[in-house]
Symmetry: C2
Subunit: 406 residues, 2 copies
């Protein structure tokens, strides 16, 4: 397996484009993205578990049931959630893209991200869909422009692709995603669009997406708020020429492996680019009695507001880590727990057997001053280990979210 | 029922004192509090549900089983949680207070609050317990000094008392509490010490404390972190002369009513004084199918990081309120939900039937600029209503918690 360029257009047969159509006031910022496969695709999607779902999410949940979607039109700036004429505008976005691409509407998915509750200005989409389609045809490798078009408060684009070999054939999986605030995914995560040329049956594609989402996007948290718009979609056009994956065999696991590698890195980058974040926090809980308990414990740590603020201050305040483990709901004996902090600057043990140990504060500060910081917890109760990702809580998070709408 | 002064020494027969003994470096800050009743008491306590409990909490849980504690010695600065010699120091605090007061150790409760994981310096307590006892005798009305002695990052002391009449007798309940960060109580909340001269049997006292805690302290959240040290303790010396409350009769409900009035205001002040807070947020969810659902929904709103940041920015971003309702776990139809913001500057409807309505942004900003802000949610699904309290997320919260230990 290797990392390659090209993002969502790295896999054979996929085109993408992005542009500024006018939903956002800032003309320098792309706000409309189009992804399309040349050939019919197998498709699968996972969506937010929030009871309040944006209209494009509800429409996609119906559309994707067919399992053969081929294109995605997405905008940033307005979430089209709890908004007047939400359903109507989502359907018009679908119809506009279908017409421009010469596809039937039930082959087109739509996505929106941005402010909740305001009406989506459909005019700019209507006026520019032709231009966007032209861009797609002229410069089909517009993954970068599409990745930028779905960004909101993100400071870095998330665009990656991996290449692997399945049954002797080169298979590529690429993706773009966005996500900066309101990140605490459950079953799906913000907007993440994946494309692959693997040949895979719809049920196996869905199974693979679900399995990978559980251990990647569902293990990150920025602020504990699960968005109304979370969508994770994969399109597979089969052009790699591998024998179609129809069962949980060696080929399926090779595909899952590549998908997991891609999604792990997209998820990490989403956590790293959490609103206002200065640090990526990686928490690994090992020695737990089960994967489920390890995950609950690790999530409680990365979600702890106080731990996040301590990491922002490069303060080795491990007591807050122990506190977060304690209220996670998992039963354990605090006297078994060890805690250490690590980064590329080194590793330092700070708590052994549930009790603080004397440590070099200067060394700890140096370790925690790195951009990526690890919190290592050993429960000494079993064999299970899980890693979750989060980010620190900073002045900028408060600033960004104190006045997001204006 | 009326509000009176005197805090924890308002009820007949209670004495309190506070001083700086040297656990904290700042000599201007009290760090040791003593509360004692002249007569034997009935007592009840509720403690943190965190698996990681501070040693004084574990010791109190054993001590209070007898139901007849009479004194409390508490320090701030060091939490004595996950700390070397934690049990030993908690027991020594208990023994020191018992000896100074001439009580048996099983009549004395202890409490600690502050940094987790560092050893409690017991020397200053040992050296100053005599002086503290002398203060208690000379100036028994030292509720103010005791309230200050348990404060950590609190900016305002919490010290209140109410007077009511039970069976023709004047009954007083007073209390002091602290709590600023790590506030997301579950069964108890930070340090809160209540005293009353009501005559009440141990089982009824415990029942009353539990019932009131559920609808007061358990309905506030500052940061979602449940502390290792939460303790809510009540001592009742019976000197009011009312017939002892031994059943759920009229007198019991009069007592619960007064206790609830007192604890509601202590809880509100704790939320208002949340670390760095500029606003008290009151969220009332009405029209829910049950009290349980209303509480889950209201808690989800006051706990939403994004909603808290929006209130800091005086931004009427009601979409985040709807989003928080949506991921609360309660099943409901978003199309039924109305949202309004209110304060003493007025009220403004911002969402009707799950969809945004056009509103006057200037008026909304004015309403949200008040210190106390209300979020009013109507689910239109039933008759139940619940109010919860929280605070906004500010730069100062991040600042305070980015470097708490130093």
């Amino acid at each position: 397996m290797e990392w390659i360029g090209g993002g969502v257009t790295a896999a054979k047969g996929f085109m993408a484009a992005g542009m500024h159509c006018g939903i956002r006031p800032n003309k320098a910022k792309n706000d409309l993205a189009l992804i399309c496969a040349e050939a019919p695709c197998t498709s699968a999607g996972l969506f937010t578990t929030n009871k309040v779902k944006a209209d494009p999410v509800m429409l996609d949940m119906e559309t994707i049931r067919g399992g053969h979607c081929q294109a995605i039109l997405a905008n940033s700036g307005i979430a089209n959630a709890c908004a007047p004429n939400g359903r109507k505008h989502a359907e018009e976005m679908q119809a506009l893209a279908a017409k421009a691409l010469g596809l039937s509407p039930d082959k087109v998915l739509v996505g929106s991200t941005g402010v909740i509750g305001q009406e989506l200005p459909i005019g700019p989409v209507r006026d520019h869909i032709g231009e966007l389609k032209a861009l797609l045809t002229e410069k089909p490798e517009g993954s970068d422009a599409a990745a930028h078009a779905i960004m909101t408060t993100d400071t870095r684009k998330k665009e990656l692709a991996v290449r692997t070999t399945i049954a002797g054939k080169t298979v590529t999986i690429g993706g773009i995603s966005k996500g900066s605030g309101m990140i605490h995914p459950n079953m799906g995560t913000m907007l993440c669009y994946l494309t692959t040329d693997a040949a895979i049956a719809p049920d196996m594609l869905r199974k693979a997406l679900l399995a990978v989402c559980r251990v990647t996007f569902n293990r990150i948290s920025v602020d504990g708020d699960t968005s109304t718009n979370d969508s994770l979609i994969i399109l597979a056009d089969g052009l790699a020429g591998n024998p179609e994956i129809t069962a949980e065999n060696e080929n399926y696991f090779a595909f899952v492996d590549a998908l997991k590698t891609l999604c792990t890195e997209l998820a990490r980058r989403m956590a790293r680019d959490g609103e206002g974040a200065k640090h990526l926090i990686t928490c690994t809980v090992s020695g737990a009695r089960s994967k489920e308990e390890a995950e609950t414990l690790a999530k409680s740590v990365i979600h702890s507001t106080l731990t996040k603020a301590a990491i922002f201050g490069c303060d080795a305040n491990w007591g807050r880590v122990l506190c977060a483990l304690g209220y996670s709901g998992v039963d354990f004996d605090p006297k078994d727990v060890d805690v250490a902090f690590a980064s590329k600057a080194g590793q330092i043990e700070v708590c052994a057997g549930g009790v603080g140990i004397v440590f070099d504060e200067d060394k700890a500060k140096k370790i925690l001053s790195e951009e990526e910081v690890e919190i290592l917890v050993d429960m000494h109760e079993g064999e299970a280990a899980v890693t979750c990702w989060g980010c620190d809580l900073t002045y900028d998070y408060v600033k960004i979210n104190g006045d997001y709408r204006t």
